[in-house]
């Protein structure tokens, strides 16, 4: 997929649409579940609130093979370098969902060891409020990401502009 860079910015919108359609309907999530929100994330992946109906079925716990990072749970200062490393190991294009109040903004716990919002250190696309959010809220966030991908230009995620 390198010829469109040689075209110098002139890219057909149809190509955009096809690529975005393919990307949004086959997101491969990387579940980074640490705490209570991880249980609701597991519930969203199981039979009752099935997330694989929307394409996000392939759960491989390897960052090199995924494109959606689902951070769920409170991130402490010991865990932050691990999260940054995993984020850096994911190849482009990648998106991040911050699930729950604790990783979006520190949540209930304003203490010496919790990061008050992971968006201080890694870029986040969608925030889900709740403590823990219902699995339907996670599915709603997946729709947001899909809508966001729809509006993307094909060159956006290549040079990280």
């Amino acid at each position: 997929m390198g010829f469109e860079t040689k075209l110098g910015g002139f890219v057909t919108t149809k190509l955009d649409k096809v690529v975005n359609w393919a990307r949004k309907n086959s997101l491969w999530p990387m579940p980074f579940g640490v705490a209570c929100c991880a249980i609701e994330m597991m519930a969203a992946l199981c039979s009752r609130f099935d997330m694989s109906r929307f394409g996000a079925e392939v759960i491989r716990f390897s960052p090199r093979q995924s494109d959606l990072l689902l951070v769920s749970g409170r991130i402490s200062i010991k865990m932050m370098p691990v999260l940054t490393k995993i984020y850096e190991q994911m190849p482009e294009p990648k998106w991040v969902i911050s699930m729950g109040a604790c990783c979006s903004s520190g949540g209930v716990f304003d203490t010496y060891t919790l990061i008050q919002g992971i968006d201080q250190f890694i870029p986040v696309d969608v925030y889900i409020p709740g403590c823990p959010p219902r699995p339907e809220a996670l599915l709603d966030a997946l729709f947001f990401i899909q809508k966001k991908i729809d509006g993307e230009h094909i060159l956006d995620k290549i040079h990280g502009s």
Binding site: I77, P81, T84, Y87, I115, Q116, F121
Partner: protein
Amino acid sequence: MLNNKNNDILKILQEVCGEVIKSSRISNGLLVVDLLAEDIYFVVSLIKRDERLDFPLLVDISGVDYLEHKDGSILERFGVIYIFYSFVNDLRIKIRAFVSESNPEIHSIYNEYKGANWTEREVYDMFGIIFKGHPDLKRILMPENYGSHPLRKEYPVKGLGERSNFPKYNIYEKLKKD
């Protein structure tokens, strides 16, 4: 009936240890024994090995910082609380060892009870009390290079800024280097 058994255990302890026990009382059915840090190993090995006492289960080890708590029975700033359980007598016993601030050291009871391994590491991590003779005394809950002991009373709940001390992931910087 619980009180009678508590009194029996207390009598045996007092006749063997004597002066080592600084004070004792029974609160809510639980026998509490206070002593200073240097005598802890003697008393703990006694309650493990003596057949009349026989406390084989180590329930918990924790620490308390008595800086702002004024009570008649408190002898030093830090207290290390040991709780044991005996199946034969169906009793719990609580031992409070007082550790001073100027010399925060106490002997580890790892040789008697292996369960002291991580619980003593946690007391060291949170309060800064050093356990002599512990096989591997290092921090357990906080990162290795953390500078303070969080559960001391002078440490604020929100911390001293360690939680915002991370590099921000900036993709432009990363690509410029390549």
